[in-house]
Amino acid sequence: MAFVQQSSPHARNARPTSRVMLWVMIATLPGLVAQTLFFGWGNLINVVFCIAVAVAAEAAMLRLRKKPVAFFIRDNTAAVTGLLLGLSLSQFTPWWVSVVAVISAIVVAKQLYGGLGSNPFNPAMVGYALVLVSFPVAMTTNWAEPALLWQGAPGFGETLVTITSGQQTAVDGWTMATPLDEYKHKITTHTAAEVLTHPTFGEGIARGWEWVNAAFLAGGLGLMALRIISWHIPAGFLGGLILMSLAFGSNADLYTPLSLHLLAGGTMLGAFFIATDPVSAATSHQGKLVYGTGIGILIYLIRTWGNYPDAVAFSVLLMNFAVPFIDHYTPPRTYGHHKARRGVPGNQG
């Protein structure tokens, strides 16, 4: 009689990576819907396109690296990277910029480092940062004017044509600076009240953006409820950002106010969906808290004193650098020991 021979434990209750990734994708839906409602079809098209490119690039690389293609594609991680890029890129990003971003994410940042689990940097953010520094104009001028849909233009076809043709002439009429950018540039010469008259801020905090951020927040809380992400990274992320802006920016006539920091730009998407990428984040709970806080602080620093309007990508990448260091200093104290054993002999952080 042949029984199954297996080492303990025999029971398992793991959510396989593929299912975790599927949940992550589902949780981004509210945000995607909000983006589509307020900014038009751009992100939706981006998302579909980026996922397709990401999966194709991953498959090609797996084949080149002689790995089981189907086995790894099914873990859905490439699709998530594509999805995150599609959500982060501006609505009228020319298709070739998206391609460059996705390819550098999947091929360079992930597969060349050894594939799933071996990449030290968040692939999506590597792709994003790369195109941001390479094509600054295409990346910063293509943000759709919020709430376009209510005004009835441009339609799906028009958006698609704009993205695919590389013909960006029409774009000028529909785009404007992002609220963070606008605020930062105008506040040096204007008062807060004057700055806020710009249409990008609308009636509330940042027209359209606030809803998109709220939707990502909702999706992120859902992931937390499903215990797919722990609270540590988002809490550290938002906590760091809040602390910094309370410490430095309480005067709205000088600095971007907290409400804008939280609800404009890629804050919630970054806090719940990007910084929480397990592969490139710190591992222990304590380490995750430090990691998230570091990102929050860096975002504030870059947004306030740096050259880029949004800073999620750079902050995440910078903290990715710090992960080995954080992990080195945040091991738990093992049961029955007096103190934690830090690091590992031979590769001291």
Binding site: P9, N13, G117, T283, T334, Y335, P345, G346
Partner: protein, 608 residues
């Protein structure tokens, strides 16, 4: 209300306990054949004290320990010894071991028993001896001989005696059912152990998913000092270290035993066995076993004679062979799979799961670790399972050890939650095994080196002694020579004293001539000497200082490596030894050359 502490980590696997709690404990009866392994616990195997063909009575001792840690084995029923040979025994490796096979005669005839109603009148040692003679070893995990465990080191007073009724593994209900049905025996056993140990506190820890057992024990302990601590259901709260933490807030020091912090844990089944042994005079010949899983039609708990083949129990429970895919001995978290149903029930057998493929499916193939940290969050020992896995896989065992690999209790919580389906525990077992092998080899190598060094020291000593003797001989010879010469001169002086003046003149002349000759002879010599010896000396000195500085560097590197527990300590140690050697040789050579030079006439040395 007992104060409870929590431990970090832990998981909540599906319990599947009600499968086997639906009916009371049944008696499995006497099978056609009983197979009794001589080793049923850690320690030494017992030796058979019966021969093939002997008729034995129920409860008769059939194997005992001569020396070493262990307890005897008894005949579970009357019958004839059929063979003493190797049979498959319950072990993760599926190995065979020496067993006594008993063919029951169906009469179930007891040997004389000596129940003791008032054990308090005895010496404590006598009671411990009764427990030993009854063959009792821990009936939970590894099964350590109970009489030895009940005698902690003199300087370790046990202040808290814990009865472990947590039974946190899914499926297993043997302790639960025992507590429900034999609460009085459980408490009687606890009282005996408490009488032996005189602890300040007795506490029974039970998970809150066993309300009936809790109720039964409450009644049984009414009016006593024994606490019933109802603890939250969480795996592995029944792990000894976790239970101690929950009930006392203390942690067993790494590498230590509970007695180090004044605590002792005993199993429910062990308590019953102790009560039976002392109060009834019955040795340990049967135990409660949970037979469960979806491949049996009538899961439940049975009281089975030790030696009963698992096959027999499965058949009684209505096993459906076509559905049976995996046979697990123990719980699904820490138990191991059996290769055959032919293995017998032993003293530590608490559960057999006959699982269907749907129930315990084969895990999906291993994926890369995504560093999600789930494993660390689940680890009740606060280890870093992911890093341990990484180093175990890369065979960097020193690093795994540095991360406290040996504190891993192999509870499986980490594997249970890993989304990448990595069999983490398997890697830890592999690493632990490898490290143990390496340690044994290291020990052997150390011994060999010590022997080698002792031999070298002896040879050196002999050499030195020889040299000393040679020098002494040379000295003696020189002295004799000088004496002779002096005597001769004396004689000459005596003879020539007649003409003292001429003699004196002659002597002066002689001396002058000698001096002249010597100066002439030695004048070119010093130049040659210094040309030959001086650079030699310098070179040697340089060599020595080089060797010394190299040694220093090596020593420094070694110290650092040791402080960091790096993996090149061995290599560095060898390098240091080699350099030490080199320095010694250089020193010897230098000393020798210096001696040689010193032996020369002074002029040669003072000359440049």
């Amino acid at each position: 209300m007992t104060q409870l502490w929590d431990f970090r980590g832990g998981v909540h696997p599906a319990e599947h306990k009600d499968l086997s709690t639906a009916r009371p404990i049944r008696c499995a009866g006497i099978p056609e054949r009983l197979v009794l392994p001589l080793q049923q616990h850690i320690g030494e195997p017992a030796e058979a004290i019966v021969k093939v063909g002997d008729r034995v009575l129920k409860g008769q001792k059939i194997a005992d320990i001569g020396t070493g840690v262990g307890v005897p084995v008894h005949a579970p029923t009357s019958g004839v010894i059929e063979s003493i040979a190797d049979y498959p025994v319950p072990h993760p490796s599926g190995m065979s071991d020496r067993c006594i096979t008993l063919k029951p005669d169906g009469e179930d005839q007891w040997c004389p028993r000596h129940p003791i109603s008032d054990y308090r009148a005895l010496e404590r040692d006598q009671v411990l001896q009764i427990i030993r003679e009854a063959g009792i070893s821990g009936m939970g995990g590894a099964g350590f001989p109970t009489n030895i465990k009940l005698r902690p080191p003199r300087d370790r007073k046990v202040s808290t005696l814990i009865l472990n009724g947590a039974e946190c593994e899914p499926y297993i209900t043997a302790d639960d059912m025992t507590m429900r049905e034999k609460a009085d025996q459980v408490i009687a056993g606890l009282k005996i152990m408490a009488w032996i140990l005189r602890p300040e506190r007795c506490v029974i820890g039970i998970e809150d998913n066993k309300p009936q057992a809790i109720a039964a024990l409450r009644i049984a302990t009414e009016g006593t000092q024994t606490e019933i601590a109802v603890i939250p259901t969480k795996y592995p709260s029944g792990g000894e270290k976790q239970l101690i933490r929950i009930l006392t807030g203390m942690e067993v020091p790494s590498g230590g035993i509970p007695a180090d912090i004044g605590v002792m844990c005993q199993n429910i089944g062990t308590a019953v066995a102790v009560a039976n042994a002392v109060l009834e005079g019955t040795p340990l010949i049967a135990r409660v076993v949970t037979i469960t899983g979806e491949a049996v039609r009538e899961p439940g708990n049975v009281e089975a004679l030790l030696g009963t083949p698992i096959e027999y129990l499965l058949q009684q429970a209505g096993v459906q062979q076509e559905k049976l895919s995996r046979l697990v001995l123990g719980g699904p978290m820490m138990g191991y799979t059996l290769t055959t149903e032919a293995v017998p029930v032993i003293k530590t057998t608490n559960c057999v799961i006959a699982a269907t493929a749907r129930e315990l499916p084969t895990p999906p193939p291993e994926q890369p670790c995504i560093r999600c940290g789930e494993c660390a969050a689940a680890c009740p020992m606060d280890l870093l399972p992911q890093q341990l896995f990484w180093y175990a896989k890369a065979t960097e065992f020193e690093k795994a050890e540095h991360l406290n690999l040996f504190d891993c209790i192999e509870c499986g919580a980490c594997s249970y939650v890993c989304p990448s389906s990595i069999p983490l525990v398997q890697y830890y077992r592999f690493a632990k095994g490898e490290i143990r092998v390496q340690r044994a080899e290291q020990l052997k190598a150390d011994r060999a080196r010590e022997r080698f060094e002792a031999r070298r020291a002896r040879l050196e000593r002999e050499q030195e002694e020889k040299e000393l003797r040679r020098k002494e001989r040379a000295k003696a010879a020189a002295e004799a020579e000088a004496r002779k010469k002096a005597e001769a001169e004396q004689v000459a002086a005596d003879g020539e004293a007649v003409d003292e003046r001429s003699a004196k003149a002659a002597l002066v002349e002689q001396a002058l001539a000698r001096k002249k000759a010597k100066t002439e002879a030695s004048r070119p010599q010093p130049a040659a000497d210094s040309a030959e010896d001086k650079p030699d000396l310098e070179a040697l000195e340089k060599q020595l200082s080089q060797a010394q500085s190299k040694l220093e560097t090596m020593q420094g590197m070694l110290d650092e490596a040791k402080a960091q527990q790096a993996d090149n300590v061995d290599k560095l140690e060898r390098a240091v030894a080699k350099n030490l050697d080199r320095v010694k040789r250089a020193e010897d050579a230098l000393a020798e050359t210096r001696d040689k030079l010193a032996a020369r006439p002074t002029e040669s040395q003072s000359n440049p």
